[in-house]
């Protein structure tokens, strides 16, 4: 039995706590939160030790590991304290708000040989695992395009999320750190980390302080292209819906929470799969769990944390290092967006000043001008086109 301390009793914190308490090898003995009434409830209903201070908890509770499910901005400090104290650490996604911080945490965890994991639960969904396995085994040949998407309804009105940390950029709010990082980690899991982010736009549907949509274009070391599309203000989806499609020289794979569809081009087969469509469902692809809450993946990821504590981590589960890769992509997307052209308000007449040549060169660079030759030539072409549109 591993003694676990949990910090942050929000939506994910309660879920992790329930799953850990039902787990045969995990025992959550201590809980830390900033809200006194939450701690009073935990003490009286669950009989657990409670702490207002994380430092005191790790000093006094004789723990083997911690689960960190606080707002993202606090992850780096808490995770570092836990690692330095020699504890295994499970952190909710994303790992931190800076790739450098995440890399530092990964280095500390590696140096002290401590179990480390981030709540990227898509890695534990059978359909996505199968997609990763098929791609790695070469079922669809050389990958040339990977497309990742997520839609759902988190923010559906102008003041949505107004008083929660999800509406505050500095605390890790926004679609980029909430939805997009899940898809980025899934794409990294299936196809590896991109080498370059060549285009990115963050858009707003309802929010004013954070983005509601993220669109981005990636390059991979082998020349493959990645496309990312996420929107957390889409009421057409009952709950968060994530999918990934991988295109290769021999076929393609589409996967979501329910299905893994493999298409093999004529003349190609793989294992038991023939050319044409091969569709398999989650009912066949998901490993059972001993306790189920909201989805097998949430139990499976803590199952893995227990295995990692026992010294048997599995490479598919991801680590602080793979989460740092996802944070790097997130950071690049934000940077590419920030250096791109300013958004034009929907429906507004084009009364803005014409862009300077420097801005156009910078913009053109982001849209792959290097690939077609001279960035300057492209900038001139774009400038001429814009002038034409205005007149």
């Amino acid at each position: 039995m591993y003694r676990i301390g949990l910090v942050g009793v929000g939506k994910m914190g309660v879920s992790h706590l329930a799953i850990a308490q039902a787990h045969p090898k995990l025992d959550c003995v201590a809980v830390c939160d900033s809200q006194a009434f939450v701690l009073a409830g935990i003490r009286s209903q669950l009989g657990l030790e409670t702490y207002r201070s994380f430092e005191t908890m790790i000093a006094e509770a004789n723990l083997d590991g911690v689960i960190i499910s606080t707002p993202t901005s606090s992850h780096v400090t808490l995770a570092k304290q836990a690692l330095v104290a020699g504890l295994a650490v499970f952190v909710e996604k994303p790992l931190t708000l800076s790739a450098a911080d995440s890399q530092e945490l990964a280095a500390i965890a590696a140096e002290h040989n401590l179990a480390n994991q981030v709540g990227y639960h898509n890695r534990f969904i059978g359909t996505f695992r199968e997609t990763q396995r098929l791609v790695e085994a070469g079922a669809i040949g050389e990958v040339h395009h990977i497309d990742g998407r997520a839609f759902g309804q988190v923010i559906t009105q102008p003041q949505g999320g107004g008083r929660t940390w999800r509406a505050k950029k500095a605390e890790g709010g926004g679609c980029l750190h909430d939805y997009a990082c899940h898809v980025i980690d899934l794409m990294n899991f299936v196809a590896g980390t991109p080498s370059e982010i060549t285009g990115a736009r963050l858009g707003q549907v309802h929010s004013t302080a954070v983005e509601d949509t993220v669109y981005a274009l990636f390059n991979y070391p082998n020349g493959a292209v990645g496309t990312l599309e996420t929107n957390w203000s889409d009421e057409a989806y009952r709950k968060m819906t994530t999918s990934v499609t991988v295109y290769g020289t021999h076929g393609k794979i589409f996967a979501d929470r329910q299905e893994c569809r493999l298409f093999l081009k004529p003349g190609h087969s793989f294992e038991k799969f023939d050319s044409g469509w091969n569709i398999r469902y989650i009912t066949e692809l998901q490993e059972p769990v001993s306790f189920y809450l909201r989805g097998e993946e949430y139990s499976a990821q803590l199952d893995h944390f227990a295995e990692a504590l026992a010294g048997n981590p599995s490479p598919e589960a991801g680590t602080f290092a793979t989460a740092a890769d996802a944070d790097w992509v997130v950071e690049q997307i934000a940077a590419v967006h920030a250096s791109g052209p300013a958004p034009v308000a929907t429906g507004a007449p084009a009364t803005v000043e014409p862009p300077t040549k420097d801005q156009l060169v910078a913009a053109a660079k982001h849209y792959g001008a290097q690939a077609v030759g001279s960035a300057k030539a492209l900038a001139n072409a774009v400038g001429t086109k814009l002038k034409g549109l205005r007149s």
């Binding site: 929000g10 939506k11 309660v14 879920s15 706590l17 329930a18 799953i19 308490q21 039902a22 809200q35 006194a36 009434f37 009073a40 409830g41 003490r43 009286s44 209903q45 669950l46 309804q153 988190v154 923010i155 559906t156 009105q157 949505g160 999320g161 008083r163 929660t164 999800r166 009952r238 709950k239 819906t241 979501d256 329910q258 299905e259 469902y281 989650i282 009912t283 066949e284 059972p288 769990v289 001993s290 306790f291 189920y292 809450l293 909201r294 097998e296």
Partner: protein, 294 residues
């Protein structure tokens, strides 16, 4: 003890829920965007002898309850078995407003404020009061119809189970009994554990609704553990997801589940008269065969 019908009609098909295909879910949601379309399917089920509708507390169901209450002769003997809370509504609210503001919005008076301030004396009593207020709010739409069993949905029931806060399950059962004269039912994806927990708070023959299917889909602990619990532990078991979202052909799936005498009821969803008729027919045939000596 409340009698539960052998065959119960579910409502997933009306609200775009399909565990195997987003596409099927979307097609169903388009078909059932009107209350009339849902009522028309319920009428077909009623014609086939079904009298129990196991439903969520989705807003749309409130309209159906109003309609049934307004037409008592047409729906003689018709019962609602509501399951609460409708989790996605709350999950979305928590995402937008945060936990505390969501609870404030859902409960009248200053209970939540008082709890946050720590002004109330005992936390356990506060939590029970909060739970009863949430249940009463969800039940308001069913005041004019018969609700012999009121269920706690698995997202909440299993979370409470995991947290080992079993008293809350007992408090729910007591409240639906005293306030609505109903028996409590519990959806769960962890049936053997849930039954033990319910026994521990004095519910002797708990009504549990759990997946029961030939491939063991979402039966935590596996088919053998479920069969053992069913044989050894007093309970009233309702089987759901018998077809495992369509992964098992209907006749094979129903034959397998009908062979288990401990299962009291089977809940299924269907959108067409043909599927309703064939499911009811198959269950009746398999039951008949089991009860007739060879």
């Amino acid at each position: 003890m409340t009698a539960i019908d052998r065959i119960l009609f579910g409502d997933n098909q009306f609200f775009g829920v399909n565990h195997m295909s987003e596409e099927k879910a979307r097609a169903q949601q388009m078909r059932f965007r009107d209350t009339e379309a849902i009522i028309s399917v319920l009428d077909r089920a009623y014609d086939r002898g079904i009298r129990s509708f196991m439903c969520t507390t989705h807003d749309e169901i409130g309209k159906i309850a109003d309609y049934v209450a307004a037409n008592p002769t047409k729906y003689e003997g018709f019962k609602f078995l509501p399951g609460m809370p409708y989790a996605h509504k709350y999950a979305n609210m928590v995402g937008e407003m945060g936990m505390v503001d969501t609870l404030k919005a859902l409960t009248p008076g200053g209970l939540v404020d008082a709890m946050v301030r720590g002004a109330k004396s005992t936390v356990t009593r506060d939590l029970n009061e909060l739970m009863t207020m949430l249940v009463d709010a969800e039940m308001a739409r069913f005041s004019q119809v018969d609700t012999p069993v009121v269920f706690l949905q698995n997202v909440v029931a299993d979370m409470v189970l995991g947290l080992r806060s079993y008293d809350l399950l007992g408090a729910f059962a007591e409240h639906v009994k005293s306030q609505f004269g109903a028996e409590a039912g519990f959806f769960t994806m962890n049936m053997p554990l849930m039954v033990d927990a319910l026994h521990s708070v004095g519910i002797e023959e708990p009504i549990v609704c759990c997946n029961y299917n030939k491939i063991g889909f979402r039966m935590s602990g596996g088919i053998e553990a479920y069969d053992r619990a069913l044989a050894e532990k007093p309970m009233r078991c309702i089987a759901m997801s018998v077809l495992a979202s369509g992964a098992i052909p209907p006749a094979e799936a129903l034959e397998w589940v009908c062979e288990r005498p401990g299962i009291e009821s089977i809940v299924f969803g269907a959108s067409s008269d043909a599927n309703i008729a064939s499911t009811v027919g198959l269950i009746n045939d398999f039951d008949q065969r089991r009860l007739t000596p060879a």
